[in-house]
């Protein structure tokens, strides 16, 4: 994520654009603030726009699906550890055709939580944010500050299991070891049942059901989502009974219980698929700790079912790893 990785990335992109790659999905900086967004570059003169810093947060997997649908050629994509895991999982689920993708893997030391950054700096004054070693260099209009990364790091990256991409065509940055650690989930599990209920109802009461978490997640791609279908598979010819009897599990009543229904249902669909990229928590305007729900699910998938994520056979298909008892928790 430091300067020379960025230089190598630019050279790599220049080469790729000369070869068979039609476009590359890369990070570029917004004009008015240091936040980085994903853009598609097609020609070599756009190479200068590419950035790579601890602010390159978003997961390009969903954009990749979109571009593959709209273009015919090969597509390059810059992917950190969790992003490449997402792309690999989507390949297993048949949403991405591996031959048409050139993955530039970036070994990721952890990204900055933008919300923490703007509590310390005014966004319009920040010129450049770069990483050297494990301290962050923030160049602002009037001075330059050095802050240790773990002061600004996005909390989810502390529990990162795959900082170095597994699935890539070329890899930049030295290899890093991930670790599997569910200490924050165990903290929550120690609380009593009442405390946990009050904690979660207190958090989920803030939800305004804007569906940013679902729309940001690379694995929430069903158009007929049970909770808020983005498109109904109806045609002018579909009979009225079918449309009338369409199941409506959830209206637009926004209260703690209905929000809980929505989030539980959304999360449980990610069993064994979630790669921990944190897009859902970053997208949530109300700062709800959504990652904790997903990580609890990942913990159960590993401990109760003994399924190691990233296996080639998706979790749903593994019917041979059922626990004997109904549930081991019983707490």
């Amino acid at each position: 994520m430091d300067e020379n990785t960025l230089k190598k990335l630019k050279e790599k992109c220049r080469e790729m654009l000369k070869e068979d790659v039609e476009v590359i999905i890369v990070y570029t900086r917004k004009e008015s603030e240091p936040k980085e967004i994903l853009t598609v570059i097609e020609s070599p003169d756009e190479i200068e726009k590419i950035t790579l810093s601890p602010l390159s947060a978003n997961n390009p997997a969903k954009h990749l699906i979109h571009e593959l649908k709209n273009r015919s050629g090969k597509i390059g994509v810059v992917a950190k550890g969790c992003d490449s895991r997402a792309i690999k999982q989507l390949i297993n689920e048949g949403k991405i055709d591996r031959e048409r993708v050139h993955i530039i893997g970036i070994s990721c030391p952890g990204i900055i939580d933008y919300r923490k950054l703007i509590t310390k700096f005014k966004p319009s004054e920040v010129k450049k944010v770069t990483l050297s070693g494990d301290t962050v260099l923030v160049q602002t209009v009037n001075d330059e500050q050095r802050i240790p990364l773990d002061k600004l790091i996005y909390e989810n990256c502390l529990y990162c299991t795959h900082p170095t991409p597994q699935e890539y065509d070329s890899l930049l940055g030295e290899v890093r070891e991930g670790r599997r650690d569910f200490s924050d989930i165990e903290e929550l599990e120690k609380m009593s049942q009442e405390e946990r209920w009050n904690y979660w109802i207190g958090e989920l009461e803030k939800c305004i059901r804007c569906f940013a978490c679902r729309n940001a997640c690379p694995f929430c791609y069903c158009t007929e989502c049970l909770v808020d279908p983005t498109d109904l598979a109806i045609s002018p010819m579909s009979p009225a009974e079918e449309k009338a009897s369409y199941p409506r599990f959830l209206g637009k009543t926004v209260n703690a219980q209905d929000n809980l229904f929505y989030h539980l249902l959304r999360v449980i669909h990610h069993a064994g698929r979630c790669v921990g990229c944190g897009e859902c928590e970053r997208a949530c305007p109300m700062d709800i700790p959504l990652r904790k729900l997903e990580r609890k699910l990942e913990k159960e998938v590993i401990e109760v079912f003994g399924y190691i994520p990233d296996g080639d056979v998706p979790f749903l298909a593994r019917l041979d790893i059922l626990p004997e008892k109904e549930t081991t928790s019983g707490r």
């Binding site: 967004i37 803030k206 940013a212 808020d228 498109d231 209206g251 637009k252 109300m286």
Partner: protein, 339 residues
Amino acid sequence: MDNKIKAMIYDGNFLRDVAEKLLEKGYRVIAPIKSGNYFIFREIDNPERISLNFINTKKSAKEFLFPQNEGLIRYREWIEEILLDSKKRAIIGIRPCDAKAITLLDEVFLKGFKDPYYEARRKNTIIIGYACNETGDYCFCSSLGLSPHETEGMDILVTNLGDRNYLEVITDKGDEIIGLFDVKEVTDEDGKRKHELERKAVESTTRKIVSDMKDVLVNNFNSDYWRKVAFNCIGCGTCTFLCPTCFCFDMLDEGEKEGIRYRAWDSCQFPLYTLESSSHNPRREKWQRLRNRFYDKFLYTVESKGKVFCVGCGRCISDCPAGVDITEVMNGLLKEVSE
């Protein structure tokens, strides 16, 4: 300065004291409190919980006049009850841009067909504003003809001069309330100080937008620019739900035999918003929906209501997960047109 507005000085923290007084008089007081690392309006029962060191709250106070869920009719075989809510309320500590947004909502709900539900709440709500001495990084109210010390839409505007408060009373409702407090005359030194604060706030605004985009938008409806702008957008409802001037709603029935017909916030970014039962959807693509949001704010509402429906609060910029920025989009369109 509108001549009707009376200015006066109050020693001490007026917002906290007025909250206490109004609670005693049986008002439901709604004020900003700190929750997590942002601020939000909540109904409070003791004035200590008010905290005022914020640029703006996460959600505007719109939800107390036009709630996210509002019961209209409770029914069994036929109508059981019409659920009007006319409890006396006071919204305290609202920023000038959100107060202006409320006057825009009045344009929608009180003009032409009077919306009885909105009117019942609006008539019984006192709005006491809190001027901005420093604009945030995402604010651009000054480029929309608004000032950080704007008084439109408020009963009383409070400006913090440090040790004392500079009050501006705009409506008779404000007069009644001021009557309960002992206030002092304004010295011209206070007046100078207030204008100084206002000027400093306007200067510190970094973001700009051109408010009259009408003809640029009309000629560029089919340009490819809108597809590029929508590349990153994920089609969620965050910008519309946080926006203080968005008023679209959906009406649903909950409960087959007996239940409630309620209306809930809806977003033009959701595809089902315009999907017809014949499966025809006038805005099927994500970029058409995003384009519609910009056209609604800067063209359609100008055509139908004569007002730009944006108050420059910047919430849709700061909280957009995909980094779509209304000022960059509009200025980008102007730049692209000029090339």
